[in-house]
């Protein structure tokens, strides 16, 4: 899917290229644009214009109770006040006592992202093992929890992780961990991120399927050739499997990073969105959600949204820039 995003500049049409169209080609264009119109209208109405308005809101002092026409009133415009507040906000940039929302998001990402990439990859490799019997059954079983609505998954795992009656702490006690040392999970500041990761495990089925399909699409000739050249298992993995599935890993990495910066539903449902324990779960997007929805401060929420947008844009561009060093697209010659 991501390969579509390269060579952006070559695709912008010139006006003369449209003028030069033959009547038949022009007819084709009319039909084509006609079929695309639901997307064009939707893109303008629900994506393009809202982005512009989000930007305008950042220079305003707009509340949910203000009317539409207040957009036109000069007294609602406050210049860069929201940005001044934003860059001094201790909830965003950490204070002496509590971690900031950016820091929280990144700390969690350092745990969740590697697990979110390598665990599905490991399981996909296991499912792709030639000695495995009943691959398609296992594939379905690993995928199955993905379709469980996440609120149900949270309550099921919440029960599993209950510090008194949950199976996980019971298993820990059975394995010899003293009862007093078993974790409090979502209520313990040191265990709350692992708790979210565990609760999120039921979502890895999608990544497993994608990675497994990536592994299966590797031509077997490549493995035969490596075998002939005397490569061992590890060498084959590093020189054949790794480059061949790098586009799939890249796809999951980009979606994972974009998802990480928008992470907030788990803290919202598991810890009621109040940032507990000890302010450790006031993720950036959760703070944004509370600002705009709970406190109904449209303008400050919009400012935070632009901050988020800019960061995601930069990180995505950086990821795409690194891609040429480690992502291998078959059929492409590298200079």
């Amino acid at each position: 899917m991501l390969e579509q995003l390269r060579d952006f500049s070559k695709l912008v049409p010139s006006i003369s290229s449209i003028r030069r169209l033959t009547p038949l080609a022009r007819r084709e264009m009319v039909w084509g644009v006609g079929f695309l119109s639901p997307w064009i209208i939707g893109f303008l109405a629900f994506t393009f214009l809202p982005i512009i308005f989000t930007f305008i809101f950042t220079f305003m002092n707009l509340n949910i109770t203000d009317g539409l026409l207040s957009m036109l009133s000069p007294s609602k415009y406050v210049g860069f006040d929201n940005y001044a507040t934003y860059f001094k906000d201790p909830q965003i940039w950490s204070s002496a006592t509590t971690p900031g929302s950016w820091l929280i998001t990144i700390r969690f990402g350092l745990i969740a992202l590697p697990i979110g990439i390598f665990l599905p990859l490991g399981l996909a490799l296991l499912l792709n093992n030639k000695h495995l019997k009943g691959q398609s059954i296992f594939r379905s079983l690993f995928y199955m929890p993905f379709i469980v609505p996440f609120v149900a998954a949270i309550f099921i795992w919440g029960g599993m992780l209950n510090s008194e009656t949950g199976w996980i702490n019971r298993a820990l006690v059975w394995l010899g961990v003293p009862k007093a040392n078993t974790p409090l999970w979502a209520n313990d500041v040191h265990w709350v991120y692992p708790t979210y990761v565990i609760m999120g495990l039921w979502g890895i089925g999608n990544a497993i399927l994608i990675m497994l399909a990536g592994l299966q699409s590797i031509p077997t000739e490549l493995y035969d050739a490596a075998k002939v050249d005397g490569a061992n298992g590890l060498g084959t993995f590093w020189n054949v499997t790794r480059p061949m599935i790098s586009p799939v890993i890249f796809y999951n990495l980009v979606l994972g990073v974009v998802g990480l910066f928008q992470y907030f539903l788990f803290p919202l449902v598991v810890n009621n969105g109040n940032g507990n324990p000890a302010g450790a779960t006031m993720f950036y997007n959760l703070y944004l959600y509370k600002t705009f929805f709970t406190y109904q401060n449209m303008s400050y929420g919009a400012t935070m949204a632009w901050g988020l947008f800019v960061v995601i844009l930069i990180v995505t561009i950086l990821l795409f820039a690194t891609a040429k060093y480690w992502v291998y697209y078959a059929g492409e010659t590298r200079s």
Partner: protein, 385 residues
């Protein structure tokens, strides 16, 4: 599993003629082929066993949910209670229900003091020094006096699912109403998605014109756009025109496509041969006619994939209904209602797990019915370019 592996082994035997095999065996008592086969069987057993173990761990919360949802209110917090839904055994004696306890027979009158065996007996009279029991299998045998404190005795458990938990939850959350709301949302938004995404994907896959590929690129890049950067003005605007508190903000935008499903449909349409379209065009069919009579009849699998994805998506959607319907409880889908239920019934784990079961039941059934389409659809979005 190991039975399966041994079954699959003897395939090659037929290809060896008895004579050949005999010569081999003469050379070495265990032939290379046997060693190879044995090694494969061991590998298969190890790999398959490991995978089974991981799957069991991965899916164990389902068992936890089912077990817990069938327990009585008290069992969860009772010390020494089994993990499966169980009840303490009771018997009917002299017109009363009495509990059954596990009694060491050596402490009872009429039994050998050296008797170390235990027996499950009904407790007739409680006492701190000695208690009176009755044998459930021999009620006519008379009461037995034992020198034990009844409090020190264990009680046997018997499998006993409490199905009424489900009835209680169905009533408490008004399950039929929630199901209807969720269904309505899934169906209407699926209608919008199918209609709009099919048209747009057809436009992207079958018409050539300047700017098309640029637009496709913009479409794909919206996948990475954080929703926060569009939601605030959208919400503000919907609130001003009075749509907040109705289904409209959730359903109307689905009639204007989403990037994932357009991509999925476009990839599929691109694989269909153009010869059929061209033949229809030569016969004078309009582009809409080609879509309806040529493309769509060949696209059944991908249309089903989009539909099942979308229904699962709608079932899972929490944020949209939360912000647009928060003050209108009568419109809530099940995903929004469940956390509230969880907040109210926090001390009733058996009801919460029953509620979770009721929430995931329909998507799970859909998955079991339409597995094949799921897998195809995911593979298209994830692996194809």
């Amino acid at each position: 599993m190991s039975a399966e592996t041994t079954h699959s082994q003897p395939q090659n035997i037929g290809s060896i003629t008895p004579e050949k095999a005999g010569r081999r065996e003469a050379a070495s008592p265990v032939s290379a082929r046997t060693i190879h086969r044995l090694r494969n069987a061991v590998s298969a057993t190890l790999v398959t066993g490991l995978t089974m173990g991981l799957v069991a761990l991965f899916l164990s919360p389902f068992l936890f949910m089912i077990f817990t949802s069938l327990k009585t209110q008290g069992q969860m917090s009772l010390l020494g209670a089994p993990i499966w839904p169980a009840a303490q055994v009771e018997i009917e004696y002299a017109g009363k229900k009495i509990g059954v306890y596990t009694v060491p027979l050596g402490k009872c009158e009429g039994f050998d003091p050296g008797d170390a065996s235990m027996r499950n007996l009904g407790l007739v009279k409680k006492g701190r020094q000695s208690s009176t029991f009755i044998d459930p299998n021999n009620l006519q045998g008379g009461e037995i006096l034992c020198n034990v404190s009844w409090r020190a005795l264990d009680r046997p458990w018997t499998f006993s699912p409490t199905w009424s938990n489900y009835a209680e939850v169905v009533k408490a959350i008004n399950y039929p109403r929630l199901l209807w709301n969720t269904f309505f949302y899934a169906l209407m938004s699926n209608l919008g998605t199918l209609l709009s995404c099919t048209l747009v994907a057809y436009g992207f896959s079958r018409f050539r014109f300047p700017g098309r590929d640029l637009m496709f690129m913009i479409l794909i890049s919206t996948v990475f756009l954080p929703f926060a950067v569009t939601i605030i003005p959208t919400y503000f605007f919907f609130q001003k025109i009075g749509w907040v508190g109705t289904w409209l903000p959730l359903i109307v935008p689905t009639f204007f496509t989403n990037a994932y499903d357009v991509f999925l449909l476009r990839q599929y349409f691109m694989t269909l041969p153009r010869e059929l379209d061209e033949a229809a065009i030569v016969d004078g069919a309009s582009p809409l006619r080609v879509l309806w009579s040529v493309i769509l009849p060949q696209s059944f699998p991908v249309l089903v994939a989009v539909t099942v994805f979308h229904i699962v998506y709608a079932w899972n959607d929490y944020f949209g209904p939360l912000i647009y319907l928060s003050a209108h409880r009568e419109l809530w889908p099940i995903s929004v209602a469940l956390p509230l239920f969880n907040g109210i019934y926090g001390s009733r784990p058996e009801l919460i797990q029953a509620g979770s079961m009721l929430t995931l039941l329909l998507p799970l059934l859909l998955f079991l019915l339409a597995q094949r389409f799921f897998v195809q659809g995911i593979v298209i979005t994830g692996v194809e370019k």
